[in-house]
Every structure is written in C-alpha cells, then in structure tokens.
Point group: C2
Chain length 205, copies 2
C-alpha cells in the first residue's frame, strides 16, 4: 500500500538517487524536510539550484569553483610551478587542511578504471598536459606530485600520468606521495600490501 | 582559505543542517549535486518544496499525507476500531511492512521526554483522546495497542496514555507490544533488561 502519498514518495525517490543515501536514510530525511519550516526548505532547495547554476571548473586546475579561477590558482602566495594532481576536490580539501602544502593543484575528477569503463579521456588529463607546457613549448612547471589514491585505479592513473609527462620531453620532476603505515596505526593490524610498501619506502633516520 | 566559493559553501552548510549529515557527507553530497545534470538538480529541489507544500497531517491518525485522510484511514478493509499508537510515520511504515496488522494507526510525532523538554502537549495526544470518544460520548474504538519504543521515553509515554484512557471511563482495552529477545538474536549477547522483560513476558507453549 502507498503509505505516504505521491509527494513524499517522489521526495524519497529523489533523495535515494544521492550517493550513500539508502531507503531508510531517504525516508528519515524526507520526514525531516516536510517537518521543517517552509522558508528553510526553500532555502535548502535554492542552495542546490544556485550552486549548480553558478559552479564551474577552474580554468587552470579544474576544481569546482564560483568564478573563472579558484582562490588557490588566483593566489600569489602559492608556488605555481609545483602541481599536486588529485582525483577530486575532496582530496584537495584534505591536503589544504594539513596547511603544509604551498603549491597548486590539478583535479582529475576521477581515476582511470577499466572496470568502471573510465578511460584517460574521461578525466582531466588533457587539461593537465596543456598546463605543463607553455605556449613557447617550454615547461611551465618544475614538479608534478601525483597524489591519486593508493588503490588499483589510483596507481594505474599515476603510472599513466608519468608516461604522458615523459612523452612531453620536458625535464619535469614527477613524484608520488608516500604509502605506508598510517600515523597512529599499529603494525599488527596493517595489511600486508601496506607493510610491504612501508618497507620499500623506508627513509634514513 | 575559502576553497570552494560562496555557493558551494552555502550548499554544504544547508546540507549539514539535515539529521545524520556530518561535514564530510555534506561535502560529498554537495560535490555530487553540482556535478548532476541541471534538470536533475531542479527536480530534486522541486520535490522538496512541493512535498513541504502539499503534505499535512491526516485528519484522523495524524500521519503525514497528501490529502485530508491518509490511505490507511480511507481504506474500508482496515479495522477502524483497533488503533495502534506509534511515535512516528517510520514506525507506522515498519509495521505496514510486516503485512500482519489490519487495524489503523495513531501517530504521536514524538514521545514524552522531560530530558528534551517534550511534554504531553507537544505530541498528538489530545487528537488521540478526541478520536477515542464519539460525539455521543460512547467509545469509538475497542482496542488501543501502544507501540511506542521500548526506551525510557517510549515507556513513559505508554504509561501516560494508559492513564489518560482510564480517565475517559470508557471500557477500552489497552495493550502494549511485547518486549523480549529479538528473532535471530542470541541470549548470550542480549542485555539484562531485555532478558528480564523476555522472562516476565513468557507465554505458554
């Protein structure tokens, strides 16, 4: 039996279309929304359509932003010759929270995944290559730090980017962020692959 | 530094106002929304404002519904002289999924909780009492099944409802759903209070 009527049902269905929202969460959210003051619901709905309307990719690093250039690409305090390549804007935000990185970013919006049918042309790789080479054919950057995830997709993407940069024939340093036991993690509960990586990546004390 | 610009920030803030949505989930949802096709975002936003606009309490049982009466209260197949009292529409939905209940419901929209400052007047108790008594002063119902949660608030509310119904002076049967070891649960991992309840509520085989 249809318990709630068409409007609530439609809202529940729409909410279930969002990532990580199952049928129970969608139900809980829907009931919360229909119990909210009307102006709060309007404000929530407007924030969605407005964000979608005004947000686009930064012309330089492809992250999501309001204007032509994102605040990081606009900043004169950042080192624009050091580019960290990340899979998505959330990874960028995570590195910004450390407060320890002074270069700029390049957001791929995904990683190469044959399993999911995501190829090199489906992520912002062409934009990265264009960015590395100036109009005069000279290199536009000194170091590319590849900070894709330590997953199969992330590693595949990292190797692919390295190969692409090498074919440019420019003397650009390409580095990969370290992989190892997380801070606060214990050896006993760390998986074998991570332990092996930690060993291979050991540094002198 | 402001990483995303005002529109995305506002969307993240709005989403964080929803129950069970923390800052990371809000970020993930916001990025998903700004990457959705425009018409899908519009549809999601509309479903919210429209549901809020059209939904109201059922005149009879106080559940959330589109029209004057909810589908259950409108149905002639249900036993309208057996009323199950639940805390919220999600509990109603849970009992409807069993497919084994043929009476109608009464939705309180909360439970009495001195801790949270929720008193008897803040939930739909007056509506329940009006419903039990016909305009001729005769009883309108044969049984009230109290299905509030097995929590302190739920038990308090159950006792309060029992007392209220007794003061009506009508011969209405009041029952409480059973409390005990859940199906599939094992004795070893069940807490003492539940075990005691299960013992007190034992039935002959």
């Amino acid at each position: 039996m249809d318990l709630y009527g068409s409007h609530i049902n439609r809202l529940i269905e729409e909410l279930q279309g969002l990532p990580g929202i199952g049928s129970k969460t969608a139900q809980r959210l829907a009931f919360h929304i229909v119990n909210m003051p009307k102006e709060r619901v309007q404000s929530l709905a407007d924030s969605m359509t407005e964000a979608r309307e005004h947000v686009n990719y930064c012309r330089e690093c492809c992250t999501l932003t309001d204007g032509e250039l994102c605040p990081i690409c606009r900043s004169e305090k950042r080192n624009h010759r050091q580019i960290m390549v990340v899979e998505n804007p959330r990874d960028l935000a995570a590195y910004e929270r450390t407060g320890r990185y002074e270069g700029v970013y390049h957001v791929l919006h995904g990683a190469i995944s044959p399993m999911l049918g995501i190829g090199p042309n489906d992520i912002k790789l062409r934009e990265l290559m264009q960015r590395l080479q100036g109009s005069d054919g000279e290199k536009n950057c000194d170091e590319v730090i590849i900070a894709t995830n330590a997953s199969v997709e992330g590693e595949t993407t990292a190797m692919y980017i390295l190969k692409l940069i090498r074919t440019l024939g420019l003397d650009i340093k390409v580095t990969r962020i370290a992989s190892g036991v997380p801070v606060g993690g214990d050896i006993e509960n760390t998986d074998e692959v991570t332990l092996e990586r930690a060993l291979l990546g050991r540094t002198e004390m």
